[in-house]
Amino acid sequence: MDSLLQVKDLGFSYDGSRQIFRDINFEVLAGEIVCLLGPNGIGKTTLLNCLARLREPLQGSVLLNGQDMASLPPRSVARVIGYVPQTLLPSFDFTVLEYVVTGNAPWLDTFEKPGPEHYLLAEAALEQMEISHLAQKPYTRISTGELQQVSISRAIAQQARLILMDEPTAHLDYGNQLKVLRLIKDLSARGYAVVLTTHNPDQVLLLDSKTAVIDHHSIFHFGPWQEILTEELLSDMYGVPLRLIKVEGINRMVSVAPGL
């Protein structure tokens, strides 16, 4: 499989002196899911933002299809990488379709406006997410779960091949959390690579994905979850005892707290 994104010796600092993270190396292949785990404030979102080129790394580089992202125009990056923020903060009541069609922005010239074919792309994206019925609704008046789907639809309309998601389950109830995980799994099956941050190690097991961990000593681990996640690492990282147990009947590993 071809490597979509390569992260080489990446390091970041907000002020140039206090290092948030350093020496981060991994790659993301097409169609692959990578879950970013780590305790609060360790820099998961910052790392994700470096991958989206929202932040300039202090050391190292991010290669997109083999090219250093820092040297690419923003438009070229946006043609490959879609970003689903943790929350959308709508200030005007655009309809869902008007919102999703803006995914075409990296494919249009600055003075160009979307034509019928771009609206078709947006409608197709809504269909893929099975939310075509929301197309004409103002996106200020739909549920948080639906808003998350709208946001993913836009990344699809953007024709991105890698979708970055910042805690996609953070503001959702339990049912919607699982639905979003299902969507992520579907996206990966259709060839989209997905990198997401999460606070819940059990989601990694549910997605059965690769994981990237920044532990609380700021040491970086990367690989299939089976090779990385251990009870010691998880307990140490979150500062509470955690168990990895195979549950008979559903035949999968779960990450649970043995008690309080």
Binding site: L54, P74, F92, D93, G103, T110, F111, K113, R141
Partner: protein, 322 residues
Amino acid sequence: MLLLMGIFISLSLGRYSNDPSKVLNVFLSRLGMNVPVDPAMDSIVFNVRLPRVLASVMIGAMLSLAGAVYQSVFRNPLVSPDLLGVSSGAAVGASAAILLGAGLATRQIFAFAGGILAVFITSLVPRLLRNRSNMMLVLSGIIVGGFLSSVLAIMKFMAEEQTELASIVYWQLGSLATILGRELWAILPVFLVCSTLLLLLSWRINILSFGDLEARTLGVNLRQVRTIVIICASLLTASAVSISGTIGWVGLVIPHLSRLIVGSDNTRSMPLTILVGAIFMLLIDTLARTVTSVEIPLSILTGFVGAPLYALLLYKQRTRLE
């Protein structure tokens, strides 16, 4: 259509004569047709009413469009085009010209320069502080606007009460009573160039209204587009204000009204804003010069009409604001 009809009706109204057929004849004769013409009417229509009517249309369009753009870029539907200090800068400029005893033309140039200078200073602060976020720009606008208000207050304090102070106050209330064709030609290029650019960018302005993070992840050259857009909107405001004085409410209410009619997508709401703004200002200015025997300053009327209208719009949208 509505706008053209409005223009014609407005041209027919005035102190000299209110006969639409005479006005029609004046136009037909200028087009080479052989109709009876009242020469005084011809002079009034072309030298007095037409420049004024066109000015009101243009200024209404400019202020409304600038307001729509500011609201989108600053992601706040409560913002008006003087957010970055254009109006206070223009007021200081105009007042300085009044205190210096300069003529009308100088006053306009000073007002324009003051407005642009104010926005420039506002945009300088985030650069100096190395924080180019929108919030910093807004805060900087508040700082500059507040400072200029004090400068204006000093000028008013020093002004000769009967003459200079009255002029400053009158300028701040806005009026088109002294408008000349020459002034129209001065702001026409700004109007054409800036409106065209903004309309071309209207879809990108949608994206700017999602906020910096989303705009950047969609590959928009944020700094470039935002700079062009803010410069255009500020030029529009400064040019309008420089010939009419400050006029409140238009830039705030009209974009709201347009969004209520066609939705938030700027590719549709911005052209409508231009049109509605033009009609609104035409109406206001026609009222200003015909309702009483004295000219009513424009801001008084825009306040009387605009504030209740805004309340009405909020009432209609009440369920959407939560």
